[in-house]
Amino acid sequence: MQNPDAIVIGAGIVGASVALSLTNAGFKVLVIDRGAVSSGTTGAGEGNILVSDKDPGPELTLALRSRDLWFEMQEDVGDAFELEAKGGVVVARNDDGPLMKLSSEQSLHGVTIQKLDHASLHELEPYLDQRYQSGVFYPQDAQCQPMLAAAHVIRAVVRRGGAFISQAKVTKIHVREGAVTGIETSQGSFSAPIIVNATGTWAGELAQMAGSHLPIAPRKGFILVTEPTKKYVFHKVYDSDYVANVASSDADLQTSTVVEGTRAGTILIGASRERVGFDGSMNYEILRRLAAQATSLFPILRDVQLLRAYRGFRPYAPDHLPVIGEDATVKGLWHSAGHEGAGIGLAPGSAALITDAILGREQFMDPSPFSPQRFLSMGIEKVLS
């Protein structure tokens, strides 16, 4: 492609979303990935688009808008994402105080909630352990098939005049007089005045190529997949224990498990909350813990066979917020990365923030909490710790 208006590096869901929103705004976009579409973390993600797990604050605002944009994006591109507003149910066994407090606060910020007593909870989830006393239903929680979504979105970009080059590893980002001019890849060089870094876990490396800095690091996450079963789980269900844990800074101890059934009939058990992350290789202790949590929610799952488990690396920043916006030092270099355990859900919202900023249009929220500038004041030691 000759002279694109913008280059998006990364063909995961985040890059695909930015590419589509820029294309729809009239830009000629070139998408570059060192692998195929969805070959990074997007290929390991679970596809939850959640608002229920977010505290009131900038991330919740982004999540709410992003969730609606998911449905718009599917309409725009065609029904191929397996997008479904399945709804989430957060359940409490004993003290539901923290959950009820959180959900009330969430409802003041645009989250639709429905508080559930024992009877209505068990009507929604008939196989849930009877010991769960109450819960909250979040009808906005949704899900999609992220790898398919990224592929269809990239295809739409190409059909609308953009281009996608795969197997092209970016090795250099050219900067002249403080502004980007183009990139060097294993398949030649390309120039454009706007470059969007959507390389997820690898975004730090890319920033470095431009002489800048982003403190994004990988964190391992696990998902368990069972054999196909009868329908035992009707929504995304998870325990509210995490609400009480939020105050705790020991993020690694929080294995709040989301259990849900899929169309294929399998049950997915994943720790999809953004505060949960694990390091180290395949850790059977964590698999045991996830299984124990899933079966304590749904005892009927005890006899269901686990078929596979897989891991992925969530990209995260030290303050657990995504990095969305123009680079702190290099003009024309934009970042949309570091979405940790919520990159699927937050992708189209992040894309809208970037496109609106580039065009100077009004943004749906104040993006400053996500600004790459915030790391400048953190000091390098803190960033690396």
Binding site: A36, R155, V225, E227, A294, T295, R302, L306
Partner: protein
């Protein structure tokens, strides 16, 4: 303590050899009887020289330092300091054993290639046909076509015939002329002539004629289409024949079971024929300290090679010396194994056998059409992406059957040969065998 996983020829030989100096050995296998793929069914299927098996069986059962744990399926292996913790399922319960050393002898399973009807009832692998015979003699009296490639088609066909099946066709896809390239291997292993003679006689006795350069190209409702194929496995048009048969037993060589070694982190490599295997040294040591691997998992070569590899692994793991003659025997058998690979290659032409509606992944019911679309429409360029888009390989068998086929189909569609990295990555399965969530969560039934 040494834990040997797998009680086929390699595992049995390893356990027996290691027990010679009194080492403590636990021999774990998922089936009720020892013997592995080939020897397990010895009772009903007579094989050539099965005396070797009997000898080993009796040594194993009389050795005091060997504990045989049968019907135990290893589902994971963890590292605990210097020890390996082997977690296995037995009788619906989970147990574990720890040891300083592991010998993995998990063998291989038959490879299937997709053709229209390969997933229909009546179509099976030769291994499955043999296994079915074992219990009730289900096949007896039925008409069977045996096809595919490799010398093991001979014991399968003659074994089925001995059990009363009518072999209505025995079709080898490759040409015997290929053996001219490997005469040295035959001369180094003269015993193979006797074996050939043995099976030749059996074929004569059961009036089975062996035809070359042919393959079953479709199967439906009791009739198989047998086509002439060229050396690349492309079907030659207009040269086909309909054969009426109840069963088609079709096998395309073997795929090593890499699951457990993969969990432990043993380095893999891609063999000359594209098969992913474990890399081991002259004493069967893997890349992971204190883990030995023997048998088909280090390269397909038949029971004889598995035996000597197992013996060497057992001796090495128990710190006994290995005589030069044993090392030479291994090399001799390896030369023969390489000759097998040269003589029975799988031509890429098989990728033209499936029709658009032919299932490629049986567990998730993914068709050729869906795989093609994932490449042409959605931009999948490697098998991982194609699998994510289509769900191929994500079902019950975890891609054991279709994974390599999907990789090669995607390679064919994208005109890129499958990279070694891709072949190796697709064998990564952290859960070696299904385990119930209840057991996993708290160890209770």
């Amino acid at each position: 303590m040494i834990i040997v996983i797998g009680a086929g020829p390699a595992g049995l030989a390893a356990a027996e050899a290691a027990s010679r100096n009194g080492s403590d050995i636990a021999l774990i296998d998922s089936s009720p009887r020892v013997g592995g793929q080939y020897w397990r069914n010895r009772g009903t299927v007579k094989g050539y020289r099965s005396g070797r098996a009997d000898q080993l069986f009796s040594k194993i059962s009389s050795a005091k330092s060997i504990t045989h744990i049968s019907e135990a399926t290893v589902w994971s292996i963890e590292k605990e300091g210097d020890l390996f913790r082997v977690n296995y399922l037995q009788g619906g319960e989970e147990s574990s054993l720890t040891a300083e050393k592991l010998i993995l002898a998990t063998g291989a399973y038959d490879r299937s290639l997709p053709f229209p009807g390969w997933d229909k009832p009546g179509s099976m692998t030769p291994g499955a046909a043999q296994a079915m015979l074992k219990g009730s003699g289900v096949l007896v009296g039925k008409r069977v076509v045996v096809a595919g490639t490799g010398p093991f088609l001979l014991p399968v066909a003659t074994g089925l015939a001995e059990s009363g099946a009518e072999i209505v066709g025995l079709y080898e896809a490759n040409s015997p002329i290929r053996w001219l390239l490997s005469l040295h291997a035959l001369l180094l292993n003269p015993g193979k002539f006797a074996e050939l003679f043995y099976y030749g006689n059996l074929l004569k006795r059961f009036k089975i004629s062996l035809k070359f350069n042919r393959a079953v190209s479709s199967f439906a409702d009791g009739s198989a289409t047998v086509s002439h194929i060229n050396s690349h496995f492309m079907v030659k048009s207009q040269r086909e024949k309909i054969v009426h048969t109840d069963v088609v037993a079709v096998g395309w060589g073997f795929l090593p079971d890499l699951t457990l070694g993969g969990i432990v982190g043993c380095a893999q490599r891609v063999d000359s024929d594209g098969t992913t295997i474990f890399a081991v040294d002259g004493e069967q040591r893997s890349s992971v300290e204190n883990v030995w691997i023997a048998g088909e998992a280090t390269g397909i070569g038949g029971a004889d090679l598995s035996l000597i590899e197992g013996e060497i692994a057992g001796l090495s793991a128990s710190s006994q010396s290995i005589s030069p003659s044993k090392r030479f025997t291994r090399i001799r058998k390896e030369i023969f194994a390489n000759a097998l690979k040269r003589s029975y290659p799988i031509g890429d032409g098989w990728q033209s056998w499936p029709q658009e509606s032919t299932t490629i992944c049986r567990c998730e019911e993914v068709t050729m059409h869906e795989i093609r679309e994932s490449v042409t429409e959605l931009g999948a360029e490697d098998s991982r992406t194609a699998k994510l888009f289509t769900r191929a390989g994500m079902g019950l068998c975890q891609g054991r059957v279709c994974s390599r086929n999907v990789s090669e189909i995607v390679g064919g569609l994208t005109h890129c040969s499958v990279t070694d990295g891709e072949r190796i990555a697709s064998s990564n399965r952290p859960i070696a065998s299904p385990i119930s969530l209840g057991l996993l969560g708290d160890g209770k039934k």
